[in-house]
Symmetry: D3
Subunit: 135 residues, 6 copies
């Protein structure tokens, strides 16, 4: 089985704050992350598939790139993530960002014959989250 990964990045701001918790609980859970700060986010999207013997690939990396760029990387570029429609109703942790990105891109990828298997969201070179489906 082949797995194709495409890497993206976007520079954005966010803050961690949950309306389900009071002020003290927010401070306790998020610390400095309650401040509006920002990152050069790393986004890696992985799809799997079977190679088409005629073309030698199972999906065009350009199709994958265009979909994720249009639906995620461009709308997030130089934005405050907490204000984006894509992330309404959730705290913008890496876990939730990965979940919302998955939901945002899965349909078009499937329509193009790609099976989404992993969305990686990293805030820095030192910490990242991977959301994985069934491989």
């Amino acid at each position: 089985m082949h797995y194709l990964t495409r890497r993206f990045s976007f520079s954005a701001s966010h803050r961690l704050h949950s309306t389900a918790m009071d002020s003290a609980a927010n401070t306790c859970a998020y610390g400095l992350c309650e401040n509006i700060h920002g990152h050069n986010y790393r986004l890696e999207v992985t799809v799997k598939g079977t190679v088409d013997p005629k073309t030698g690939f199972f999906c065009n990396v350009m199709d994958l790139a265009a979909i994720v760029k249009r639906l995620v990387a461009d709308p997030c570029e130089h934005q405050y993530l907490n204000d984006l429609p894509m992330f309404q109703g959730c705290v913008t942790t890496m876990e939730n960002i990965a979940g919302r990105i998955w939901r945002t891109i899965e349909g078009e990828l499937t329509a193009k014959g790609m099976t989404l298997v992993e969305v990686l969201v990293g805030e820095t070179d030192e910490n990242w989250v991977r959301l994985r489906g069934d491989e």
Copy 2:
């Protein structure tokens, strides 16, 4: 279970062109990739195994390195991949390159007691393919 990975790189040229498709279909599928262009290819080979308590490793990373260097990295260095025996009869997509490398190194790795589990081929820091066996 332990997984050992060794990373290699080689600078080579290639073009994507399929003899199974006519000119228009080639252009449609490959775009600019039909031109002879090149990359500093990234190659990561992963094997799995059980640690030998006497030596503390399950295969010598030097054995792994020597095999892949001799069979793949050296023959590909500063070459036009489409002309190499290793890649005859296939379009030199990352998917096919990974498949041919797998086929080229699996025998010697198995003979040395290593089980090949993944071959990663990357054209740039932004896109790569992983070919995986059963983990």
Copy 3:
């Protein structure tokens, strides 16, 4: 399922030498690695879990970071690994270092509700070992 990874590094020295083998066998197995040399070690610890809808994460990356820093990264920083209690009774190969780190951190991570799934130890950018549990 979400997977959270945190990356650490420490600069340390070590040598590979097994008391279970005679001098010739050590030289044969380890070559130049028998000399006391050193690395900027890369350590990546991955845990898995389910997101708490209230906070938006399943474990605080700060908890993970604090535990691994206190139990591993700080005690190894600028040390000769072969002399550390953590690595007694084993050859300091990447495989064994990963195994001992796993054993060292698993208890506290579990107590904090995190399931350890992978410990990656790398000596250089070109070679690394991943020790994985059942994902």
Copy 4:
């Protein structure tokens, strides 16, 4: 002559907006950068000096690190740069950030016998500014 460089990073948010220009001029000059967005900032501080034959270095890299961390990296970490005292009265471009950091750290570095020669501020891996004194 020896030059010693120490690299730091901090994750922060900012926006580009000049009170000396009207709304249209701001949009024209800054585009998307007028939005509150963020980066993992790269900061590299370079000092020069002559080696002390007794110690083998001309300034302790730890002194340099401690000064820049206390005066710049820690106060900027997870903050909105436009609100910090350090950046009042200027637009938070890379050029101005570098200038204010220079002004902030030069005194203590000089007092410790180091001559500041360059402050590099980078927003991403693709763009950065270096402010240099007379080398």
Copy 5:
């Protein structure tokens, strides 16, 4: 004085062959580099200037980026460099590529008020050439 650097990359093929030398001399000078091979080229362009107090920068990084992308990065992307008009009449060494890029972009940069001070061309992470004017 402020120095602004912008980094670009393009994937291209080339070969080293001089019509001013016979076959034996070419082989002696270039070795494997006579083969058509390729790289993910790194290109870093540095300009200097004085900060405009109104905007906080001395040239818009976007202007710099647009000029170099249009004149160099886009025309070189996925091409065989030896065939491009930009590199006619010279061997495509890093030295000559840097020289031709300098000549290609200097006019438009000057017209926009930027003083070009350095063009860096790198074939791999291990070797690169910097062409510098008078700083």
Copy 6:
């Protein structure tokens, strides 16, 4: 003027200890660095020159690479730097290592027509020293 840089790395151990200072002064100056620890050292050697119009380069990057590899990178690989002839009579700080490497390679580089302008020695990605001659 063209500047050519070649990057090398070697994994080695060292400790900082000066025989010109007593035990307390050593501890005060070097802290944890008095322990035998290690690094994946980064070494970047830069030479300058004028392009030969016939070949298109002013020195063969292969000549530069071969000289530095033979005289420095290979002898340092997997060694305890304090024991090497190259570093006798000095504390193995980055400053001194750079100085001794300069002295070791300058002769052969000059003999090949290259002018050495900078030796960069880095212990980690966060700190490095550059020794520069007159540019």
